[in-house]
């Protein structure tokens, strides 16, 4: 039987990680025809748990195959088992040097595990070896930003932008780091650029507009802030953070009905987040909806637990 050749690109939407691509190519793996067909079927049907189990079995049968271990690591990653993924990539790396894609996914796994220290090692080394890939400085900037090393993060973001001037997320991150350093005008310009290049590329991320709107609101420019936040909401209508920020800003412009509507969307989109209930409660109270305000406050207190009374 001719082996099925199937390249499967797996979108990964891990928490706080941008969309990533992890490839598993059953045709490139040392598998029997039967196992290859079985794995291909699982991948085609997006049965990731089954694919993971099949690869785990294959690794046990052929523990010396670095390719199988990398595929298993990718399956673990897809199933959000980041520690297992990092471990398996580590085992594969002992057999043969990892390819850049695997190293990048390994770094993403480390970040998901909140081991940025280890991710930094991989990303710094990738950035040095492949200086024309904008993803590496961009992700490094994310680590530095998390450490609040904003100067370093700015340098890396600018490197990413130099390689790819149309890299919207890099402009956005640059804006956040500039904002953190109090360089408001430069931050607003960076967000505007992020919006512009993102729009030109047809990207649907609300974050550049959200960050711009949020910063404008802090500076008291409520009309401009609403315009930016409405652009963000148009891109991601169920983004609770965007709706929350929009609600707060509309409230400052004395547009309570619209503000209430935005805050209600935020609460519906993320009912487990306490701060949205609190904001809604405050506005409900001021607009005379006392029962609604009490109910929202009760939900806030339940969600916030011990912190609510502090």
């Amino acid at each position: 039987m001719k082996p099925t050749i199937l390249a499967v690109l797996i979108p990964v939407f891990a928490a706080r990680l941008p969309a990533q691509l992890v490839a598993i190519d059953p045709g490139a793996l040392p598998l029997s025809d039967t196992s290859r067909m079985e794995l291909s079927g699982f991948l085609r049907g997006q049965q990731w748990l089954e694919a993971e189990t099949a690869l785990y079995r294959s690794v046990r049968e052929n523990p010396a195959s670095a390719e199988l271990r990398k595929a298993l690591a990718a399956a673990h990653f897809r199933n959000e088992r980041y520690l297992a993924a990092a471990t398996e990539y580590g085992r594969a790396a002992r057999m043969a040097p990892l390819d850049p894609g695997s190293r990048f996914t390994l770094a993403a796994a480390y970040i998901a595990l909140e081991r940025r220290h280890w991710a930094r090692r991989e990303l710094e080394s990738l950035a040095a070896e492949y200086p024309r890939n904008p993803l590496y400085p961009h992700w490094l900037a994310g680590i530095y930003q998390h450490y609040q090393w904003f100067d370093r993060a700015i340098v890396e973001s600018r490197k990413a932008i130099e390689i790819n001037p149309d890299f919207s997320s890099a402009h956005d991150r640059l804006g956040q780091c500039l904002e953190a350093l109090g360089r408001t005008a430069e931050a607003l310009a960076a967000y505007a650029k992020a919006e512009q290049v993102g729009r030109a590329a047809g990207e649907r991320s609300a974050w550049p507009s959200y960050h711009r709107g949020s910063l404008l609101r802090q500076g008291g420019k409520f009309e401009e802030a609403v315009a930016a936040l409405e652009r963000a909401a148009a891109l991601e209508p169920r983004n609770a953070e965007v709706q929350h920020e929009l609600g707060l800003t509309l409230d400052r412009l004395n547009r309570p009905d619209e503000a209430l509507a935005a805050l209600r969307v935020a609460v519906e989109a993320e009912p487990g987040e306490a701060k949205f209930h609190y904001a809604l409660s405050r506005l409900q109270r001021r607009t005379g909806d006392i029962d609604g305000a009490r109910a929202s406050l009760a939900r806030f207190q339940r969600l916030a637990g011990g912190e609510a009374g502090r």
Partner: protein, 311 residues
């Protein structure tokens, strides 16, 4: 929902019953837990069912009757982890719940080589940890042999090198401890735990050049570690590199700990003394000691004050 813990009798041996959901919990530092990992099955509107994992982390809980159930694993010293039942792996040998050691990354750190260590070395290492927990001199000696075996089986096993070094230090075999600490860093230079003890060894033997280089490596892995800046600057001073020492002082002052890091007064005193300002240096030493400083640097500061007073 108020949870009444109903202890579920585990049936780990043999084949799984269809009425069970089985999984495995692991810890991210690869160190065998000193107590069983506690697992709980939470289902909406149902009692919480509690169980314990076996020494290898395997657990079995009753198959939930409803959707939306989650399994939580808890172990003291680790951050609890929760996984939806429908995200558990089909094969329980694939870890399903991962517990992470608590603590900041700048303190005790994990080596990324631990979980990928060769299986035989992991067995020796686990045996070493369990033996060490038994306490007593005999067990320390036995554990040392087991860690030595682990690094022989896998020379890249940085955590095993580190544990071996600790035991060698405990019996004051400084030379062998230094070898083990250096081997830990050679295996994983981003494993932060060996830096401090190795630095203390180098400083204790006045190996200033080695100490300074070690501080440089430590700072490369973890910029902003104030102790590395301090000891790097002091080593530079001992090597008559006043400019580097002042650079280190500036970095500490500009860093997040600058205002609260008492030893900065000691370093400033040493620099002032070297620059020929004994009175100002004395004031800095006194400032340092008034902060309640203890240890070798405080002793050195007292000695320098006494010497200045006797002149």
């Amino acid at each position: 929902m108020r949870s009444r813990a109903a202890f579920y009798s585990l049936a780990l041996a043999g084949s799984a019953l269809a009425s069970e959901v089985r999984g495995r919990a692991i810890v991210d530092d690869g160190i065998p837990p000193a107590e069983p990992i506690r697992v709980e099955l939470h289902c909406p509107g149902a009692e919480t069912v509690t169980g314990a994992a076996d020494p290898d982390g395997r657990f079995a809980l009753p198959m939930p009757a409803t959707d939306g159930c989650r399994i939580t694993a808890t172990l003291s010293g680790y951050t609890s982890a929760t996984v939806p039942v429908d995200r558990l792996p089909l094969d329980p040998e694939i870890a399903g719940v991962e517990l992470r050691r608590e603590g900041k990354w700048q303190g005790y750190t994990l080596s990324r080589t631990t979980l990928a260590a060769l299986p035989a070395a992991q067995v020796s290492f686990s045996e070493g940890v369990r033996t060490l927990r038994g306490g007593g001199q005999a067990n320390m000696s036995k554990a040392e042999l087991l860690f030595a075996r682990a690094v022989e089986q896998d020379p890249q096993f940085a955590e095993a090198w580190f544990q071996l070094a600790r035991l060698r230090l405990a019996r004051a075999d400084v030379a062998a401890a230094r070898v083990a600490l250096r081997s830990a860093l050679a295996a994983d230079s981003w494993f932060l735990s060996p830096y401090r003890p190795l630095l203390m060894l180098e400083l204790g033997e006045e190996r200033w050049s080695e100490a300074r280089e070690l501080c440089r490596q430590w700072l490369d892995s973890s910029p902003g570690v104030t102790d590395a800046l301090l000891y790097g600057a002091l080593s530079s001073l001992e090597m008559n590199d006043l400019a580097a020492a002042k650079e280190g002082l500036g970095a500490i002052e500009a860093g997040p700990d600058g205002a609260s890091f008492a030893a900065v007064h000691y370093l400033r005193g040493r620099i002032l003394e070297r620059e020929g300002h004994p009175a100002e240096a004395g004031a800095e030493y006194r400032e340092y000691l008034s902060a309640g400083a203890e240890g070798p640097l405080a002793e050195e500061a007292r000695a320098r004050l006494a010497k200045a007073g006797s002149r």
